[in-house]
């Protein structure tokens, strides 16, 4: 892509897909924008018309909004932290010449193939259930009182479920990147006197900077709109404790039948996602250039 000519040819070549993607995105966005300025409640379809910023004001001043915003950010941040840190550790372990490595790899990847709804149900009923769950059984076996996860640590429970789902993704990407680490480089470091810890921090981590960036970007996009897990387990509760922006929009639209308000919420979510993405790109984009 060095010469001007090749750049132009490249632009022409990608134009159709860019235009298609643009339409794909812009039509629903346009409709949402339109509805967000309308009074449009399914319970009251006769009262319609332009209301300006009213829907936005209502959504933003809704006492639930700040809580949902904070919950969203905590959820995204915590899941990112868990998946990246654990992902690196597991990837490094998988890279060791251990017995039955193929099987272990398969096990690690498996959660990614399970639908969010299903995995949330499994966690809710088989693992975290305060009476019949596996965790409760462990606690009782140890003579402790079982934890009622969804009552006492609802957000943490959601975080654990979502992190469990995204860990394979992070592990897979990081593991693949690890395998491209040059063997001679490792031997050079060994001869230069780098122990396992120096090797990890001086060679492995810098090598993983790029894939980590990719993992963070990809996960953030999806984590901002976590929904199924919340719907299946806590319904956003107790109270507002596990309501994130996506769930708040849902609550507006389907619980209150307020299409206009939900559209405004959706637009707010899009703007929020862009703000987060902007900071993320600034924060980690440097890594992608080098």
């Amino acid at each position: 892509m060095a010469t001007k000519k090749s750049t132009r040819i490249g632009r022409i070549a990608v134009a159709p897909s860019v235009i298609l993607l643009f339409l794909w995105m812009i039509v629903p966005l346009g409709m949402t924008l339109y509805f967000s300025t309308q009074r449009y409640n399914l319970l009251n379809p006769d009262r319609s018309g332009f209301v300006g910023w009213l829907n936005y004001r209502a959504f933003l001043t809704n006492p639930g909004f700040t809580t949902a915003l904070v919950n969203t950010l905590i959820l995204v941040g915590a899941v990112l932290l868990i998946t990246v840190v654990l992902g690196i550790l597991i990837a490094v372990l998988l890279d060791q010449p251990i017995k039955g490595r193929g099987f272990v790899r398969l096990m690690v990847i498996a959660p990614f193939f399970i639908m969010p709804t299903v995995s949330a149900l499994v966690w809710k009923n088989l693992l975290m259930h305060p009476v019949s769950g596996f965790f409760a059984w462990i606690m009782r076996s140890l003579g402790l009182t079982p934890v009622d996860w969804f009552t006492h640590h609802p957000l943490l429970s959601i975080i654990l479920i979502v992190a469990w789902q995204w860990l394979p993704f992070a592990t897979l990407i990081l593991f693949t990147a690890l395998q491209s680490l040059d063997l001679e480089q490792k031997e050079a470091a060994e001869m230069d006197g780098a122990g396992p810890f120096s090797y990890f921090f001086e060679m492995v981590l810098p090598h993983l900077a790029r894939p980590i960036t990719v993992v963070i970007m990809m996960e953030t996009i999806f984590l901002l709109s976590v929904f199924a897990e919340i719907l299946v387990t806590t319904q956003g509760g107790p109270g507002q404790q596990t309501t994130n922006i996506a769930f708040l929009v849902y609550a507006q639209a389907l619980l209150n039948y307020n299409v206009g308000g939900a559209s405004a919420g959706g637009i707010v979510a899009v703007v929020l996602a862009n703000i987060v993405a902007f900071f993320l790109v600034r924060l980690v984009g440097k890594n992608l250039e080098a």
């Binding site: 040059d182 001679e184 480089q185 031997e187 050079a188 470091a189 060994e190 001869m191 230069d192 006197g193 780098a194 120096s198 001086e202 060679m203 810098p206 090598h207 900077a209 080098a290």
Partner: protein, 332 residues
């Protein structure tokens, strides 16, 4: 001090014995070249010395101390890899400083040593660059810089020049030889290029299928090869080998004669042949001659020698320079 001694060293990967058993003495300050065809076990032998592979049997002594089971970083050796193995995310400065940092040397001392090495290797202007922004020759020098700052007891090179183009290779060959002169440190150098071996070595170790065929100075190997393999491997162009009647006449299964020990004569000589391809190098001319009853021979003559393709010539071998080998390929 950097003497290295291999006693009965062997190495197998699973069932295959790559190195059956090797004994070798390397004196302090020597420039030793391991040379041999691809796959003969040169790299493996070097990696055994470095500690990057475990020996299957035998002992490795460095400076008289048994280091067979010592980890690589504790052997006091520095290695330059074929791929250079530079750390891509670090600047040239940090690459060269890395072994010192790992050894816990203080900052001022590191800075002094890195700048000194950079000065010696002409890298001062590139200290802030990343390896990806350097040419092949410069990367090579960074790899050498990273090796010399540690002041190792010996340097190990594994085909360090094979990624460079021909002109640069000649230049770097000289630089490494000069480095050896000025540091006086033991160097073990692996190559499959016999020209590199001849030009750089104090001592050449010719390897074949994991065995040492012969050890000696370049000229010893050139003048007195112990067997057919060494005779054919050392020297360019390859030594001419003749079997059959001509060999039997001289009491050998095979005789060998180098291109420069055959003279072309217009009128008379013991052999008679037809000139095929002629290679003019300016200073020398190589004639590929098909000799009646002997076979194809390469003959070296001065730059002025002027015989064309298809010309009939007489040839006179220098009888005192003919090497004789028995049926097993050993020199007689």
């Amino acid at each position: 001090m950097g003497s290295i001694r291999l006693e009965n060293v062997s190495k197998s990967f699973g069932e295959t014995a790559v190195i059956p058993s090797i004994d070798l003495d390397i004196e302090d300050g020597e420039f030793v070249v391991f040379v041999g065809p691809s796959g003969c076990g040169k790299s493996t032998l070097l990696r055994l010395v470095a500690g990057l592979e475990d020996t299957t049997g035998g002992r490795i002594l460095i400076d008289g101390k048994d280091m067979t089971d010592t980890p690589p970083s504790k052997r006091g050796l520095a290695m330059v890899f074929q791929s250079y193995a530079l750390y891509p995310h670090m600047s040239v400065y940090r690459n060269i400083a890395f072994p010192l940092r790992m050894a816990g040397v203080d900052k001022a001392e590191i800075d002094r040593k890195v700048r000194e090495a950079a000065r010696v290797l002409n890298l001062t202007d590139y200290l802030d660059r990343r390896p990806g922004q350097l040419s092949g020759g410069q990367r090579q020098r960074v790899a050498i810089g990273r090796a010399i700052v540690r002041a190792p007891t010996a340097f190990l090179f594994d085909e360090p020049l094979s990624n460079l183009d021909a002109a640069l290779r000649v230049g770097m060959r000289l630089e490494i030889s000069e480095l050896h002169q000025s540091l006086g440190t033991t160097m073990i150098y692996v190559t499959h290029d016999q020209v590199e071996a001849m030009t750089m070595a104090d001592k050449i170790v010719v390897l074949n299928k994991g065995r040492i065929e012969q050890v000696g100075s370049p000229l010893t190997l050139y003048r007195n090869p112990k067997n057919l393999f060494v005779a054919g491997f050392i020297g360019s162009p390859k030594m001419n080998f003749v079997t059959g009647e001509e060999a039997a006449k001289r009491g050998a299964a095979t005789i060998g004669i180098r291109a420069e020990h055959i003279a072309l004569a217009p009128e008379a000589g013991p052999w008679h042949g037809t000139i095929g391809v002629v290679e003019h190098l300016g200073s020398d001319t190589f004639f590929h001659v098909t000799v009646d009853g002997v076979g194809p021979l390469t003959v070296r003559a001065g730059g002025e020698a002027a015989y064309g393709h298809g010309a009939r010539v007489f040839l006179r071998p220098d009888e005192s320079k003919i090497h004789r080998f028995d049926a097993a390929g050993q020199a007689l």
